[in-house]
């Protein structure tokens, strides 16, 4: 008795609005199977797409002489290739003749078409297929429809990648088309075990994502885990860059746990090691799991000869440390350990700093912020105005700031070297991480000098040692120690890299036969 008013209250509170009700009704209707009545089926699909208000939905319904039944082809104009429809669907239907009683059944129509087709049984399936750019062919009296592969988005041709340039090696980059991207990968991985599984993400907008891996190499539990994380997503995913933020391990961390690359050859190399690659209509792909080394390496490291590759890697390793530590070391030395600087240099620095009214830290922050501004402006500026950035950067910030006694010349060198080093980092995410770490390091150094830098290193190492990407430790195979071919800062010759990295738990641990010691 007492519960009655409460149930009444909850009913009032949770009363669905008329809008919600309508949506629910629509959804329930869409779950139903196709009726077979052409007019009714078309009406439901039209309602789903708000046609005729929505101009994009195209319906071509007519009778064909060869067929006994009426058919209708439904598609979204902007997403399909209409040439394909007219050449490979309409023309055969018009011209070819079918004899006998089978006239107009689904199978006979499918056999007529010069295009790949598949059966569709419910409204929701039909709507989803139309949304991916396929056409749906409905036949009067048949409770099954055909989806036709007529996808035709406009996209760029395969071009040179914008952000990952290489000197030696393939110059093709991914484009905004999943099919092209897949073919770019297949071109280098000729393996019948290369599996491409499709998943549709999101409740409202349907985003197809392709999961690629080599069966028998990639660990099935890894594949399962990737699928699990993808299926947990209910939000609308416009592209892979957003997807990356949904599947990463620690969203607030400064370290990246998913690798984004524009290079198909790089993706193929990761596939062969047992990683999983995610692809959709984006000009890049996502690779999981990753370690620190995935961000540190480039594809070129494997194309160059052993000595050259290791040379550029050492340079890059130095660049990473320069990018993180140089400004902090400058602050620490000038503020706390002036005796560390050679006397002549110290006097020179002191001479130039004499006229600067700010402490070293303020001076450094002015310059660092200016540099970050310059960098951001350089990305956003329309290209016809691009040259102004150089003038502003070089003249105003470099020379005029020194002449105005805002900063000392040595500091301009420090900031310039740091900036240069951060440009030498091959990965955008790693570059961002290094820039953020640099500011943290400056804070530590300004409070505790070199001791502070030591503290920063300790904290950084401890943090990185527990960071994980899809359960793979970020600093593997060093800490924790795993078996793998030598391929970290220094790599061994390619013919010696016969083991796949054990930390990603590949099913097949060997890439090739173990080279004999006397072989080379």
């Amino acid at each position: 008795m007492i519960t009655v008013p409460f149930t009444f209250l909850t009913k009032i509170l949770h009363k669905p609005t008329s809008d919600q009700k309508g949506r629910q009704k629509d959804h329930i209707q869409l779950e139903k199977p196709l009726t077979g009545d052409l007019a009714q089926d078309l009406e439901v699909i039209k309602q789903a797409f708000h046609s005729p208000r929505n101009q994009d939905l195209s319906i071509r319904s007519q009778r064909y002489p060869g067929l006994t039944k009426a058919i209708a082809i439904v598609y979204l104009e902007a997403m399909t290739n209409e040439k394909t429809i007219s050449n490979h669907v309409l023309r055969p239907l018009n011209s070819k003749q079918i004899a006998g009683a089978a006239k107009g059944t689904l199978d006979t129509i499918a056999a007529l078409l010069e295009i790949r087709s598949k059966g569709v049984r419910t409204y929701i399936e039909a709507v989803e297929q139309i949304l991916t750019g396929r056409a749906v062919l409905l036949v009067d009296g048949e409770s099954e429809a055909l989806q036709l592969d007529t996808v035709g988005f406009s996209h760029r041709a395969v071009e040179k990648p914008q952000n990952e340039t290489v000197i030696k090696g393939p110059h093709e980059g991914f484009v905004e088309d999943a099919k092209t991207n897949r073919s770019l990968i297949r071109k280098t991985v000729r393996d019948q075990n290369l599996v491409n599984e499709a998943m549709v993400l999101g409740k409202r907008t349907k985003t197809p994502v392709q999961i690629m891996y080599i069966d028998g190499v990639a660990n099935p539990r890894l594949v399962e885990q990737v699928k699990q994380r993808l299926s947990d997503i209910t939000a609308d995913i416009p592209n892979l860059s957003v997807l990356e933020q949904y599947i990463e391990d620690r969203p607030y961390s400064i370290l990246p746990s998913v690798l984004w690359t524009e290079l198909p050859d790089r993706a193929s190399a990761f596939l062969r090691e047992g990683h999983v690659v995610l692809i959709d209509n984006s000009a890049g792909c996502l690779i999981v799991p990753v370690t620190f080394w995935s961000f540190f390496h480039t594809s070129e490291d494997f194309y160059e000869r052993w000595a050259y590759a290791n040379f550029i890697r050492i340079v890059r390793f130095i660049a990473l440390h320069v990018a993180v530590f140089t400004p902090a070391v400058y602050i620490a030395f000038t503020t706390y350990h002036a005796e560390m600087i050679p006397t002549d240099l110290l006097l020179a620095i002191a001479g130039t700093r004499e006229v600067v009214p700010f402490p070293a830290l303020v001076e450094l922050l002015i310059m660092e912020v200016a540099f970050e501004l310059l960098r951001e402006a350089g990305v956003r500026i329309p290209s016809p105005l691009g040259s102004t950035i150089g003038i502003v950067g070089a003249l105003i910030l470099g020379q005029a700031a020194v002449e105005a006694n805002l900063v000392s010349p040595i500091l301009v060198i420090v900031v310039a070297i740091t900036g240069l080093a951060s440009f030498a980092l091959p990965n955008v995410s790693l570059g961002f991480a290094a820039r953020l770490a640099r500011f943290t390091c400056i804070v530590f150094a300004s409070f505790f000098g070199v001791v502070g830098i030591g503290f920063f290193a300790a904290v950084g190492l401890a943090y990185m040692s527990t960071f994980k990407s899809f359960d793979v430790p970020f600093l593997a195979p060093i800490a924790p120690n795993y078996c793998a071919s030598h391929d970290m800062v220094i790599r061994s010759p390619v013919w010696k890299q016969w083991l796949r990295p054990f930390h990603i738990k590949p099913q097949d641990q060997e890439r090739q036969a173990e080279p004999e010691p006397s072989n080379k």
């Binding site: 660990n219 539990r221 890894l222 885990q225 799991p289 620490a332 030395f333 706390y336 350990h337 005796e339 560390m340 050679p342 006397t343 409070f447 505790f448 000098g449 070199v450 001791v451 502070g452 830098i453 030591g454 503290f455 290193a457 300790a458 904290v459 190492l461 401890a462 943090y463 040692s465 527990t466 899809f470 359960d471 793979v472 430790p473 600093l475 060093i478 800490a479 924790p480 120690n481 990603i504 738990k505």
Partner: protein, 364 residues
């Protein structure tokens, strides 16, 4: 899940932790203690102490292997609840004392040499705060961080030794036996406390992948540490002479000040100070973590990791008590901590071993 983390570490990580806790003793105040009593023969002390602790540790490891438990559980299992509690609690007090005195001596060095005007509370709080942060990341993280730190620190140490070789005079090592064998022998028993860290670390024996990892890590760790300690002591004596070296409170940092790299770079101290800070803070975090582990094991607290925060704060407050570094080093470390620790190392393992034998016989 690709791999369910079991929270355990392997041989390499354990070895790194051993080296960071034992061998790194020579980069803070401890050498002064060695030198004070053994004089020119101080460099032999680590090796002789190793001989002293070898048998007890062998017994300890064999007991642990047979029970398959960690140190504290073994103590409870063999000594019963009331006695076991007393033993475990004393272990906890020793560990907390060690952690506190260590962190205090690091902060003292930082203060005296580099930040004389910073209030001690602040530098101490920052130091312990960072150590707590590292310790909170867990046992696996400590193992991994140590494996990363040890090679860097080793490289730094090697550079320091090479650069300071020019100043060394082997003649300072003589007379070879210092004040004679009897004095050395008594001292070597007291300095068995140097290796107490292994006793403390066996409290995490169940978090090692295998008993083999523990055994191998212990043996290699002890030997390498002893050799390093002995080598560095010899270097200190050869450079400062024993009288001078006894008076130097922070010989490692002092040494890094006296070396130079050609005529242009006359001071390369900063590099070594950075490494010293790195080692110091990681080492302190290991001690804080072990304090929490032993406290948790004593009071049977399953979730012991968060205890690092209150115990770190306690250690900070206790560490502020000693009036000055001399009290800290001479009176508390040598007078109290070492004298409380060496009997524990030498007596506890045989007692456990006897108890274990007795227990086995009883069951049979």
């Amino acid at each position: 899940m690709l791999e369910q983390s079991d929270g355990k570490i392997g041989y390499k990580e354990f070895l790194a932790i051993m080296l960071l806790t034992i061998a790194a003793k020579l980069v803070h105040t401890s050498p002064t203690l060695f030198l004070q009593d053994a004089q020119t023969a101080a460099w032999m002390l680590p090796l002789m102490s190793l001989l002293v602790v070898a048998a007890p540790f062998w017994l300890l490891l064999s007991v642990l292997r047979k029970t398959g438990k960690n140190l504290n559980e073994t103590i409870y299992y063999l000594a019963g609840k009331p006695v076991g509690f007393i033993l475990n609690f004393s272990l906890f007090v020793i560990t907390l004392g060690g952690a506190t005195l260590n962190s205090r001596s690091y902060v003292d060095a930082m203060q005296i040499l580099y930040f004389p005007r910073t209030p001690q509370v602040i530098s101490y709080a920052v130091f312990v705060g960072i150590a707590i942060y590292i310790a909170l990341r867990g046992w696996e993280s400590l193992g991994r961080t140590s494996t990363l730190v040890v090679p860097i620190a080793g490289l730094g140490l090697l550079t320091l030794l090479v650069l300071s070789a020019r100043e060394a005079r082997p003649a300072f090592l003589f007379p070879l036996l210092g004040r004679g064998i009897p004095a050395l022998a008594t001292k070597s028993v007291v300095f068995a406390a140097t290796y107490a860290d292994l006793l403390v670390l066996t409290a995490m024996a169940h978090k090692l992948r295998s008993h083999g990892a523990l055994k191998k890590g212990a043996v290699v760790g002890l030997i390498v540490s002893a050799v390093l300690l002995s080598l560095l002591l010899a270097v200190y004596i050869m450079i400062y002479d024993y009288t001078g070296a006894t008076g130097v409170l922070y010989p490692f940092l002092q040494l890094s000040r006296s070396i130079s790299l050609a005529r242009f770079l006359t001071q390369v101290e900063g590099v070594f100070v950075g490494l010293w800070a790195l080692v110091a803070v990681v080492r302190t975090s290991i001690y804080l973590y072990m304090t929490a582990v032993i406290f948790g094991a004593t009071f049977r607290i399953r979730e012991y990791e968060p205890l690092v925060i209150p115990l770190g704060a306690l250690s900070l407050l206790l560490g502020l008590l000693p009036a000055n570094p001399v009290v800290n080093t001479m009176l508390l470390r040598y007078g109290v901590l070492y004298n409380a620790t060496w009997p524990a190392i030498i007596l506890l393992p045989p007692v456990l071993w006897v108890l274990h034998r007795w227990r086995c016989k009883q069951i049979a």
